[in-house]
Each structure stands twice: as C-alpha cells, then as structure tokens.
C-alpha cells in the first residue's frame, strides 16, 4: 500500500495522520470533563508532577525553540544557546520557584483562574484588570505569530514535491510543498478544534503528548541528519573548514558581550505569560512543581543542543543566504531521505508549535470570558452556552488577526526575533508580578503607571524593529550594544518603584489577604520538616 502512495506525499500523509490523532485526543479529553467552569479552565486543579512538567515545558517550547533556534544558530552561531537556553534553564526555574508556586497558592486560596483577577484584587483596582487585558492580548499576538509563521514556513520544505503542479515555487527545495498560507491555516484550525472541544484538559493532555512527540522526533531527526552528514565529527569538521561557516563555532563577531548579558532579562517573561499562569493553576499541590523546577533546564538542553548543532551544520552545508525560518525544514527535507521519518520529524516540529498555540488560544478565551464578559455583565447575565460562544468567537477573532499578520510578515520577520520581542514585553511586565508577590508597599498607581510606561516603550521599539523592517535587514535592534528589553525593563522598574513610593500604600486588609502575615517559627538549621 505504501508503495502505491507517491513517496513525495508520504511526509504529508504522516503529518495529516498526526493531526487526526490530535483531533481524536481533543474529543476524547472532553469526555472526562466534570462539567464545571473550574474543570474547563484549570482542570479542577488536579494536575500532578509529570503532566505539569510536560504541559509547562511543551507550552514554553514553541516554534521559537525549534525553528527559531536553528535559524538563529545558522545566522549567529552557537552563542544562541547561551542567549536563550542556558539563561532560561536558570531563570525559568527560578520564576517557577519564586513566583509560580506563590501564584498557585493565591489562585487556589481565592479561586482565581486568570492573572487579571489576581492583579485586580491585589492592587485594589477594577480598572487595572481592564487595562491589563488588552495589553496581554497585544503581547500574546506576536507569540501566536511565532507559532503560526513557523508552522507555515516549516511545512513547505517538509512537504516539498507533494504537489508540484498545484504549488510550484521558484526554489526547487520548496516547490510542490504546502504553501505557508495553507499550512498555517491548517495548523490554526486543528488547534482551535481540540481546544474548543477539550478546554484546558484537552490542552494539557495534548501538550504532554506533543512534548513526548517533539522530544522523541527531535532526537531522531538529529541522529538522521548527523548520520547523513557523515557523523557528528564530520558534520562539525565541515563547518570548521568552511570560511563562511567557521565563525559560527564561537561568538566573536556574531554576538556582543552586552547583548549576551542583557538577554538575561528575556526569560523573566515566563513570570507574566497568561497561558503559563493558567497552567500553574492546574497543579494539584505546590509539590507538583518540584519536578518541573528541577527537570526544566535539562529538558531545555535536550531540545536546544541538537537544534543549535543542526543550525551551525546548515551554515556549512546550505551556504549563506538561506531563509532562516526555513533552515530546519530544508535540513530535514534534504538530508532525511526516508519519507516516513521526514513526516514524523515534521509532526514533531508541529507538535512543539501547537503545544504552545493551544494554551495561548485557551488563555485568550478564558481571559475574555472571566475578565471582560463576566466582570462587565455579571455571572448570571449569559447562559453557559452563550459564554462559551463568546469566548470561542473572541479566540477566532484573535486567530484571524494573527493569521492575517502572519501572511504579511512571513518573509520579513524572523521567528527568533519576533519571539524575542514578545518575550521582551512580558519580561518587562515581570516587575509588576514580582512586586505583587514580594513587595507589600507596591501601590495601584505604581502598577498602572508601570504597565502604561512598559506598553508605550515596547510598542515604539517593536514598531521600529519589526513592522518597519524591510526584507534583507537581518540585524537585531540593539541600544548601546544591549537588548531593548534591558531599557524597557528598567523603565518598568523605575516607574513602579517611584510611583509606589509617592502614593498611598495598599490597605491592611489587602496586605493581610495576600501575604502570610502571621509569624511562624523558623525551623532550626538542619531540622527536617514535612
């Protein structure tokens, strides 16, 4: 039967089969629903350590981690790992430990399901919720774009040759492949389907499943590519002996010291991702976080090291000038000659992309329902069915905007750079989350001012770097050699602290509500506690 199918169409068939499995998973997970809103939004706070690790990791790793990192390593070399992966290993876990567990506790104690609900009450300000909602949505859109563009750009070379007459292309390696507009659309529709059916449970299960798939297929792809290049040593030797590619083996000339240092701000973004906030709230207990905190850096390493190596090997094999977003797809398409394996690897990359998109779609709908509709009109104004329809309608609207932007930006915006911009925005909001949890003196005015200043500075710089960028302009925007996030973050902190100190502190009632103000005896050094 396999012989009867055109070999060039086999990768596409494998990918379609995988997408079909996800649809089944979505329908199946909906059968476990307990029928309550708490179950739909936060899986009744029932997720244990393993599922929490897999779903949080799957959500954190997106097209940025696979397609973006490979493309960026192709253009900038091995330093990309230090810029993002090793910083993230240290800082993501720190944020899970310092912020995630605390917010989980507050969420469980008071029944929150979105960030806006928490910040609104912590800062005694209903208007803060209305202000934060559009800003979070504004920042989630570039994150969605990363996934949507990466999916389309990856599918085209992976399925090249499947339909040569239907989708011809001037570049042979892309000819006959599913064009980005169609690939991106198909991925959006599949994710929408299982999120609409399964709610957060569907997203968590799909994330765990997809994380296993993309980690497994990533290792297979790495092994296949290195074997085709003559082995690990031979693949790197080709790079070392290539005049144009050899600089990718180090950082000199590719990445500046201040740029490298200022990337440390970027991973702080996980402290403000609304979709990650929602995942934290699904945890059964604080102890469920332990495995995530410990294993996250190693999981990042398992995914990123092969991608970086494939990226620098691509510099030695594809030569300069290839589209960075398409590098991984081209390496897989050209070197992995087994159509079934090519399809499996393709499914793995799409799994990484979709495992973030689902949580983002879900959180957008959750925020709209809880922070706008219910907040504005009350819980009893609309039936459950109407609320579901409104949430889904809002998700569809945002996905449509994202899809239109992806068509416009797919040839100019680098997936990696776009991801960095999105993370920069969320990272610059991190001081508000940190202060909310640890600084009792933070005031409503301080939080609102910081939010407004961050948004204005981020928007201006994003517009200049991404929306005004012309094809061929590949350099990242640096200010004084540093990443813009350093300045946006600085403006956020400064505004938060100064305005908070100049305005009236929050009420004692609020402080007692959110801080464990009762004294507890410290265990003596070395005393074992439960």
């Amino acid at each position: 039967m396999i012989a009867a199918i055109d070999a060039a169409q086999m990768p596409l068939l494998v990918i379609v089969g995988y997408l079909g499995l996800l649809l089944v998973l979505g329908v199946w997970s909906s059968r476990f629903s307990r029928g309550t809103s708490a179950d739909y939004f936060v899986v009744s706070r029932s997720i244990g350590p393993f599922l929490l690790l897999m779903s949080i990791f799957g959500t954190t790793m997106t097209g940025f981690a696979l397609v973006g990192s490979t493309g960026k390593a192709y253009t900038s070399g091995i330093g990309v790992y230090g810029l993002m992966a090793s910083w993230s290993g240290l800082i993501h876990s720190a944020v899970f430990f310092l912020i995630g567990i605390k917010l989980w506790a507050v969420g469980k104690r008071y029944g929150y399901v979105t960030q806006c609900e928490y910040f609104r009450e912590r800062f005694e300000s209903p208007s803060l919720g209305y202000l934060l909602f559009p800003i979070l949505v504004l920042l989630v859109i570039p994150y969605l774009l990363v996934g949507v563009i990466a999916a389309g750009k990856f599918l085209q070379p992976t399925t090249a040759g499947a339909f040569p007459e239907l989708f011809p292309h001037a570049v042979k390696a892309l000819s006959g492949g599913i064009p980005p507009w169609l690939g991106s659309l198909a991925i959006c529709l599949v994710v929408l389907f299982y999120v609409f059916f399964g709610g957060m449970r569907g997203a968590v299960w799909a994330n765990a499943f997809q994380t296993i798939i993309f980690m497994g297929t990533g290792i297979i792809a790495f092994w296949m590519i290195s074997t085709k290049l003559g082995g690990l040593a031979e693949a790197s030797r080709i790079v070392a002996e290539s005049q144009t590619a050899a600089p990718r083996l180090a950082r000199e000339g590719s990445i500046g010291h201040l740029q490298f240092l200022s990337y440390c701000f970027i991973p702080l973004s996980v402290g403000m991702f609304p979709h990650l906030f929602q995942h934290w709230l699904t945890a059964r207990s604080a102890k469920s976080f332990r495995l995530t905190v410990i294993a996250h850096p190693v999981f990042i390493m398992i995914v990123w090291v092969p991608c970086i190596l494939i990226g620098i090997w691509a510099a030695g094999n594809l030569g300069p000038g290839a589209n960075a977003n398409a590098v991984l797809g081209r390496m897989v398409g050209q070197l992995v000659h087994s159509p079934i394996l090519t399809g499996l690897v393709g499914a793995g990359v799409l799994a990484a992309i979709m495992s973030s998109l689902d949580s983002q779609f879900m959180c957008i709908g959750t925020m709209f329902t809880n922070d706008i509709v219910i907040r504005r009109f009350g819980n009893d104004r609309f039936s459950d069915k109407q609320k579901i329809l409104m949430a889904r309608g809002f998700i569809l609207l945002i996905v449509a905007i994202t899809y239109a932007l992806s068509i416009y930006l797919k040839d100019t915006a680098h997936v990696f750079d776009l991801g960095v911009w999105c993370f920069s925005g969320f990272a610059s909001l991190f001081p508000i989350a940190f202060a909310a949890v640890y600084w009792k003196r933070t005031t409503r005015a301080g939080a609102i001012s910081s939010l407004v200043v961050t948004t204005l500075v981020w928007s201006a710089l994003f517009y200049r770097d991404i929306l005004l960028k012309k094809p061929g302009m590949d350099d990242e925007l640096l200010i004084g050699g540093m990443m813009p996030v350093a300045f946006i973050f600085g403006a956020s902190v400064l505004t938060l602290v100064v305005v908070s100190l100049l305005t009236q502190p929050p009420s004692t009632k609020t402080i007692e509500k959110f801080f464990d103000t009762h004294p507890h005896p410290e265990p003596a050094d070395g005393v074992a506690t439960k």
């Binding site: 029928g35 309550t36 809103s37 708490a38 739909y40 091995i78 230090g82 992966a85 910083w87 290993g89 240290l90 876990s93 720190a94 430990f97 567990i101 605390k102 989980w104 506790a105 507050v106 469980k108 104690r109 008071y110 709610g199 690990l232 040593a233 790197s236 083996l249 180090a250 950082r251 000199e252 010291h257 490298f260 440390c264 207990s285 604080a286 102890k287 332990r290 905190v293 410990i294 294993a295 990042i300 390493m301 090291v305 190596l309 620098i312 709908g365 959750t366 329902t369 809880n370 609320k387 579901i388 949430a391 464990d516 507890h520 410290e522 265990p523 050094d525 070395g526 005393v527 506690t529």
Partner: protein
C-alpha cells in the same frame, strides 16, 4: 519527602544561584572554536553543562529552600469558600 529547610540552606542556595548567573558570562570561551569530543564547540559544551548544573542547583533548592508553609496557607481558606457554580464558561 523530607526537606531540610533552613535559613542557612536558603541563603546558600540563593548565593549559588547568583554565582551560577555570574558564571554564565563565559568570556574566556568567546572566540574559542575548539571542538569537544570531536564535534561539540566548546562554548556550546560549556553552556550545556551549565544547564545540567542549573538542574542540580534547583534540586538543592527544592530540598533546602522549599516554602513548606505555602501549601497549608493555600488550603486553609478552602472550607470557607462558597461552592463553585457548575457549567462551562
């Protein structure tokens, strides 16, 4: 699981986190193109090891700096909460 949670343990763990963050800036391998094990650029190898050390450090943090009272604080309010209404959003 028993965790030895103490003030000293917490201080040591957070000091180690700061130290590791400083060690992230490996300027000494900046222009070094040597390959470790014949295929891994040394700068990449260093940062891969950095990730493993970070995981070990977080294991220590979980053991010695875990917020043991937090779970209790999160749950103590539960019985006072009104029951949640059924139905999807």
């Amino acid at each position: 699981m028993k965790s030895k949670n103490s003030r000293l343990g917490r201080k040591l763990v957070w000091t180690a986190v700061i130290l590791l963050a400083i060690l992230h800036h490996d300027f000494w391998f900046w222009d070094d193109r040597r390959l470790v094990l014949g295929f891994m650029p040394i700068g990449l190898f260093y940062h891969a090891m950095f990730s493993i050390v970070a995981a070990c450090l977080w294991a220590l943090a979980v053991k010695f700096a875990w917020p043991v009272r937090l779970e209790e604080w999160a749950s103590e309010f539960e019985e006072k909460k009104p029951p949640q209404k059924g139905g999807r959003p």
